[in-house]
Amino acid sequence: MAIRVNPKLIDELETYGAADVQNCYHCGNCSATCPFSKEPFVIPRRSMRNLQMGLEEKLKGTFEPWLCYYCGECSQQCPRGAEPGETMMSLRRWLTSRYDLTGISRLFYRSWKAELAALILVSLVTMVAFLVMGFSLGHGSLGVYAGAGALFPDHLVHILDLALAGLLAAVLLTNAIRMWWLTTGRNRNLHISLWSYVKNVFLLPYHFLFQARYSQCEKKLPWLTHLAIFLSWVTMEVLVILLLERFHSPETVWAAHVFGYLATIGLLGGTIYAMVGRVRKRETHYKHTHPTDWMFLILIAGAAFTGIVQHASYRWLGLDSVANIAYLIHMMFVVPLLAVQIPFSKLSHLAYRPLAMYLATVHTDALASQQAGAAQTEPVRLAA
Amino acid sequence: MSFEPKIVGFLCNWCSYTGADLAGTSRIQYPPNIRVIRVMCSARIEPDFVLRALASGADGVLICGCHPGDCHYSEGNYKAMRRYPLLKRMLKDYGVDNDRVRLEWVSASEGQRFADIVTDMTERVRALGPLRIKTDLQTDMVER
């Protein structure tokens, strides 16, 4: 059964950032150089080929783009300047939009103005919601930051955080399940035993926390900056969402704050380093920047900065009203960051990356056992 | 060691000799039993040369020329074509088997065909064994 070629897909992918993939004349140099390219996942050439030919079903069915951590070795060696690294990055953006059923992610990637508008809208709504909640409902006053009569009482914010986190987890989970279905579930030729699913489950937290694969790259600095930003973000999330009351209460022991300070330094330092790298465009993986990357970095930097200002003004200077305003602005950065970026944009990779590693191992086990069983498997055919 | 026949090949310079050279440049292997004598045209081959060869120890004679119509001198190969049947009838009277003397057309681009002809003829003459009636052929030769 012949698969239909769709030459139009490449135009769509251009908006996701894959501007030069059509220059590739398939010399195989990138697949041979890529440190992560191992059977059965030969990257990046196969994905580029599927993209060039517009085999949308087949592209949706692979998680290979998630196995690339953009060390840039392939783009440097590419004889045609087809930017395989950037193509894989764009494919990740495209897959993110594919896993999201609502189509919002696709809208955001195709026009960055839409995403910016969404971000601004969400932050304004947050502002209004907080103000309304603060003044009218909670009868808090601008002057009081914590305790009774606080403009933004902890318990209310806490409930809001938990609700938001639950909602986002749900959305992210559905996308992850869709990713599993597209790449593995609907593939009838692949028989994966339940045991191999269970056996490898430990991989999810392992890759989530340490980005183990990223560390195998030759250049360690990109991994370390990413790890710094990630761990600081996680600690901040834990402190703010789970331990909000204890973190905010006056007598919290200084230890919690140290974590807070470290996380902020990590976040601010990491994002600034990334932004400077993207401006100077010296390393290959910083050469091309999609608008969504800018928004993502600005949001995190903004959240971290306003977080410190709010903390300093309350803890060190005792200016409650300034702290409240800072906190409000902080929320105007954090809520859009979580509400928009996690389900529909770049931040959703925190779920897809570990899942991809997990599925890769599961697939390899299945293929290996199938190979051992059958003499010679037909190349993987997807259901129509 | 099996009998190795000696075959004399008269090749015309413009087509068959060039074809044999092409077999060389294309490294097409064929048995070494044939020994080639170059003439300018197949019309130059006198029946007397064939007799001389058979008398001097050849077990077979191959005459090659251009395909009819291709001759560099436009009609030389027709003359060879006319002389050949008379020669073959006379050779039969001397008891020379039909397969021992052959006339073939080989063009400048038929290296493979030349090699196949030589291989086939070597096998046939080897099957016929050595030509024993050399002596009496010698005496009948007309001395020039």
């Binding site: 012949a2 | 060389g24 007397d48 001389r52 436009s74």
Partner: protein
Amino acid sequence: MEELKIGVFICNCGSNIAHHVDVDAVREAVEAMPGIAIARSYKYMCSNPGQEMIARDIREHQLNRVVVAACSPRMHEKTFRNACRNGGLNPYLCEMANIREQCSWVHSDQLAATEKAKALTNAAINRVRYHEPLESLTAEMCPATLVIGGGIAGLTAALELADAAHQVYLVERTATLGGNLARVDLTAPHLDSARDLLTERITRVRANSRITLMLNSELQSLAGYVGNYAAIIRTKNGSGEVQERKVDVGNVVVATGYQEFDAGRITHYGHGKLPNVVTSFEFEQMLRKGRIETRHGKLPQYAAIIHCVGSRNKEFHPYCSRVCCMTALKYAHELKSANPACYVSDIYVDMHAFGKGHEDFYKTTSEVKTLFLMFEKNERPVVRKAGPNDDCEMLIEVNETLSRERIEIPADLIILMVGMEARADSGEVARLVNISQDQEGWFMESHPKLDPVATTTDGIYIAGTCAAPKDIPDTVAQARAAAARILGKIAKGKIEIDGVFAEVNEDRCSGCRMCNELCPYSAIEFNDQTRRSHVIPAACKACGACVAACPSGAIKGRHFTVEQLHAQIDGVLA
């Protein structure tokens, strides 16, 4: 008979001969033979030290015969004759034994090959004993030239010769000049105008008084030899009746070009059946008329170009037609320029973008988002009509190599890159001017590197695509190369002809006149007074037919005498 001093020189030809023939064994076997003054072997006899060795040995050992056992005489007989001449020995006292093309290259068994080499060398030695010194003839060189074919090759060669103040007769079969290039709009890779190039050449040809232009004309017959050809040209003028005209020329340049492969012969491309499957030349027509659309006037949203139609496969032509890849890339650009919204797919085997500026052109074609799909050369794509709910006219199904998928490509317009093949009547032209053709019908050059434009027949040259598929710059270069050889010969004024013509021995000739009609070149005339036949040296082409046919053996074939051949027969069987 003076005392024989024969020098035998055996060549290793690097490893070409030495690899299978034990050269020293041959030298030792030869050394012991009677009359051998010196027997040597050297790595490259045809090189400077090799030839000087021959000349030096002739002088030091007063050699009066030389045998060179090396490559084919068709390759270096002239070279070794010159070496003998430099040593002061008549060049015709040299004989070659072909122990490379007809020995070491074709027999891998070293023992048998060495035995055969000995026999061949021995035959040459026997033969050379009977060689006699001969003098070559000189003949006048007529400065006029006949150029057959009015395409870019013929025009360029004609101009090159006419601009050097020599008369040229340009014969063109059709009514117009330009040949196949006249049907092309732009050329790859710089998209320059083919029309301007032809307009320039045609205008200069028509304005040049030294070029006699004969349109609607064909070569009827060609007689004579290099420097002295008599060509009869047949012209059909407007009213259909035919005139014949005889022209005397010194040389002939064959520039008859190629014909396009008939795409209809590949049934599953559907050319002739599906309306929107066009050949490259049909597409050029559409480009020139500005109507790049499907048969019923729709702008093609999908266009596909299929390479190697008729080329590079076992059924039709095994060779590559060399220019279609770049032409296909040109079409991709032209399609995109005429209709930017068009999606172009290019279905190829290997992208032959080898020339100057070709790879850049290939890259710019990728940059305009042409989709390149590769197939195995013997698994050709299949074209079929699309279904009603498809958004395209036709679908092409093929096993795509780069993705190992069986795919189906949408196409509203399909362009078949038809290959080049020898013209149907190239056989007649070859016979008329006495040159040979290879299996595919292309004219054969005497040696691709030694002499790419000359042929086995002196004075006949080939240029352009009639010898093999090639692009415009290579065609122009070959046309000028042929002109250069002719200019060189004309400048020397005289031409040297081999002194191997036949000769009648008066006292043996019985006057039977059998040889007179027999000679295809009527080079034998009958003297009524002496009642004897007589050979005209200049006209004799030394085929030897008369020598063999003379009942009284009165005609001596110089350099191919009966004694020489008998000695060679005995030698080869020794």
